[in-house]
Amino acid sequence: MTILRFSKDLFKHITTGKRAYFIWLGVLAVVMLNALISYINQLTHGLIVTNMRDQVSWGFYIANFTFLVGVAAAAVILVIPSYVYHFKPIKEIVLFGEMVAVTAVLMCLLFVVVDLGKPLASWHLFVTPNFPSSILMWDVIVLNGYLILNSLAVIYVLYCAANGREYKMYIMWPLVLISIPWAFSIHTVTAFLYNGLSSRPFWNASIIAPRFIASAMCSGPALMILVFQIARKVSDIEVNDKAIFKIAELIAYAMGVNLFLYGAEIFKEFYSMSIHVAPLEYMFHGLKGHTLLVPFTWTALVFNLIAFVVLLSPGLRNRFLYLNIACVLVFIGVYIEKGMGFVIPGFVPDTLGEIYDYLPSYTEISVSAGIWAFGAFFYTLLLKTAIPIYKGELSFLSHNMRRNLKESH
C-alpha cells in the first residue's frame, strides 16, 4: 500500500506547481509534438526529407548524438570529486549530475533511432550482432550499459532517501568505480566509431579520442552549471556556490587541454599541407568556393577561446554574469566543434573528391529540437521527482513516522 500512496503523492507533486512550470512543460510538449509530426513524415517518405545524401551520409542527427555522448560522459566530472575526494559541495549535487547523464544517453539513443533508414529492423542488432568487429555494436553496448549504471545509481540513492535513510557506500562504490572508466569508455568508443575509418583522413587521426574527452569535460559541466542555477532558482534545492565555481575551474583546465589538442591537429595538417588538409581548409576558409562551414568553425573557435580566458581567471569566473556567459559560449562552441564541425568535414570532400554542402533540412531541425525538448521535459520531471524525495518531503514513510523521525533528529 505504501507504493500506492507514494505513487499518488508523487503524481500529485508532479501535477502541482507554479504557472511557469506548466508553461515550460507545455512549450516543450508543443516542440515534441511538432517533432513527432516531422518524424512521421520522415517515416512515410524516407530519409530523403533530410538533406543528407550519399556524399554526406551522416548529418545533424549524428552530430547531435556525438555531442550528447560527451554531455553524458561528463557526469564523471562530478562523480570523481564527490565520491573519490569527498568534496562536500559537489557531493550534494552529484545526483543531479547523474540525472543529466541518464537524460543525455536517452537523447543519444533517440538521435540514433531517428537516423535509421529502417528503424523497425533494429532488432537485427541483437540477432546477428557484428561483435567485436563493428564499433557501432560496441557503442550500443557501452551506451546502454552507462544508462543502466547511472539509472541504478540514481534510483538507489532516491530509494534510500524515500526510506529516510542514508545510502550505503558499499553499494554505491561498485557503481561509482565502474561508472568512472565507463564514462570515459562511452566517449572513447564514440570517437573510435569515426577514428577507425581509414577512408576518412579527417577522422582517422589518433588525437580524436583524447580531443573528444577533453571537449566533453567542457560542454557537459558547462550545461550542468547552467542547469543547476536554474534548478535552484525555481525549486528549493540548495546548490552551493563553491560547487559551481569548482566545476567552472575544472572546465577551464579541460578547455585548455581541448584547445591544445585542437591546435596540435591544426598544426599537423596546415604545416605539412598534404592532401588531407582539404577538410580543414573547407572548415577554416572554404574549399573551391564552398564556404558553408567557415562561419561555424570560426564561431566555435572564438567562443571557446573567449570562454577559456574567462574561466581561467578566478576574478571573472567567480562572478555569475561572466561565468554564465562563458558557459553558454562553451556550450555553443563545443556543440559546433563536436557536431557539425566534426561530423560534416569528415565527409567533405567525399571519397571521390566531391564537395557536397550540407545543412540540415527543416525535418532534421524540428526532429532534433523535439529530442532536445524531450530531454528538457524528462529532466524537469526527474528534478520534480528527485528534489522532494531528496529533501524528505516525499517518502515511503507515513506522515506520522516522518514527523517522528524529524523530531528525533
Binding site: 550519399d54 540514433v112 537516423d115 529502417k118 529492423a121 592532401i275 582539404a278 570532400p349 571519397t351
Partner: protein, 297 residues
C-alpha cells in the same frame, strides 16, 4: 498460440501505429520476421523467394524471378579496367542501372566515371576530378577518364563496420547486402573508401516497362527504401551456368572492361594482371580491391 504467432500479434499492435493499414497483411509480418539470408536453410530460402515473387507480381504486375544461386566453387571474381581505352561515354553507367533495377527517381548509379584534365592530379587526390561533366562528344580532347565502382575489396571496410552483418563477402569474393536485413545506419557508407555504397533515401522508383525480370536475391531484385545497395558484379549474371559477363563489361563499346576468375591461371584477367602495368585505387588503405586498373597502351 506458438511463440511466432505471439510475437506477430504483439508486433501488430506496435506496428499498427507505424504502418499504413493497407499493408497490414500477413506478408508484411513475414517480411518483418524474416531471418538473415545467411541463416536460412534451403527450404526457408525457397519460401522467402516465393513470397517475394508474389509480392513483386502484385506490385509490378509482372512475373519477376528471384534466384538465390550460391557462389560457384573455385571462383574468385576479378575485374580489370583499361584506362587507356575508356572514353568516358558512360554507357556502363546506364547499362548497370537497367540491368540492376536501380531506382530512377531518386537516381542511383553504381558507377561513377571521373573525368580528369591531362596533367592534373589524380590517383590519390580525386578532388580535381569532375563527376558531372557534360560533353557534346567523348572523349573530350585533353581529358581522360577513370570509372569507379565497388572494388569488391578482399578486406572490405564496409563489411567490417556493419553492426548487423547485413553485408558480407561471399566465397566468390562478391560483397553483397541483404536489403531486408540492413537497418539503414549507413555506417558502411562512411567506411567505404570508394564511394561505392548507395542509400535509398526515398522510395525507389522504376518505370514498369523497364524492369529487369531476371533477378537474384543478393543482387538486382527490387530494393527497399531505407536500405543500402551496391554493385555486385551482376551476381545474377555471373553465377549463371554458363556465366555471363556483368552488364558493364558487355556494353563497353571500346572493350575497356575485363572480367574473369582470378583463380584460373589461363583467364584473361590473370594474363593482364601478369603482363600489364596494373594499379589498384587507394592501395595504401590496404583494402585489397579485386578491381584492377591497367594500361594496355
Amino acid at each position: 498460440m506458438n511463440r511466432r504467432g505471439f510475437l506477430k500479434s504483439a508486433a501488430l499492435g506496435v506496428g499498427g501505429i507505424l504502418l499504413p493499414a493497407k499493408d497490414s497483411d500477413a506478408s508484411v509480418w513475414e517480411a518483418f520476421f524474416q531471418k538473415h539470408f545467411r541463416e536460412m536453410n534451403d527450404k526457408e530460402k525457397k519460401d522467402v523467394v516465393a513470397r517475394l515473387e508474389i509480392e513483386y507480381m502484385q506490385k509490378y504486375k509482372k512475373r519477376i524471378t528471384v534466384k538465390s544461386t550460391p557462389a560457384l566453387p573455385n571462383v574468385l571474381y576479378g575485374y580489370g579496367l583499361d584506362l587507356s581505352r575508356c572514353i568516358g561515354c558512360r554507357r556502363c553507367v546506364y547499362a548497370c542501372v537497367t540491368e540492376n533495377n536501380q531506382s530512377r527517381k531518386p537516381q542511383i548509379h553504381y558507377i561513377t566515371v571521373l573525368q580528369f584534365k591531362q596533367g592534373e592530379k589524380w590517383v590519390s587526390d580525386l578532388e580535381e576530378a569532375k563527376k558531372y561533366y557534360n560533353a557534346e562528344e567523348v572523349p573530350e580532347a585533353g581529358h581522360f577518364y577513370m570509372p569507379v565502382q565497388c572494388q569488391q575489396c578482399e578486406r572490405p571496410p564496409c563489411v567490417k563496420v556493419c553492426p548487423t552483418q547485413a553485408t558480407w563477402k561471399e566465397p566468390d569474393g562478391i560483397v553483397v547486402v541483404d536489403y531486408n536485413w540492413c537497418i539503414g545506419c549507413r555506417y558502411c557508407m562512411a567506411a567505404c573508401p570508394y564511394g561505392a555504397r548507395k542509400f535509398n533515401w526515398g522510395e525507389p522508383e522504376i518505370p514498369l516497362d523497364e524492369i529487369n525480370t531476371e533477378t537474384h536475391y543478393l543482387g538486382n531484385r527490387p530494393r527497399l527504401r531505407g536500405a543500402v545497395e551496391k554493385c555486385t558484379f551482376c551476381v545474377q549474371r555471373v553465377r549463371e551456368n554458363p556465366g555471363r559477363y556483368p552488364a558493364c563489361v558487355e556494353i563497353c563499346p571500346v572493350g575497356a572492361r575485363k572480367f574473369g576468375n582470378l583463380l584460373d591461371p589461363n583467364s584473361e584477367i590473370r594474363t593482364l594482371i601478369e603482363t600489364k602495368r596494373v594499379f589498384r585505387l587507394k592501395e595504401e588503405l590496404n583494402t585489397q580491391p579485386k578491381f584492377y586498373y591497367f594500361f594496355s597502351l
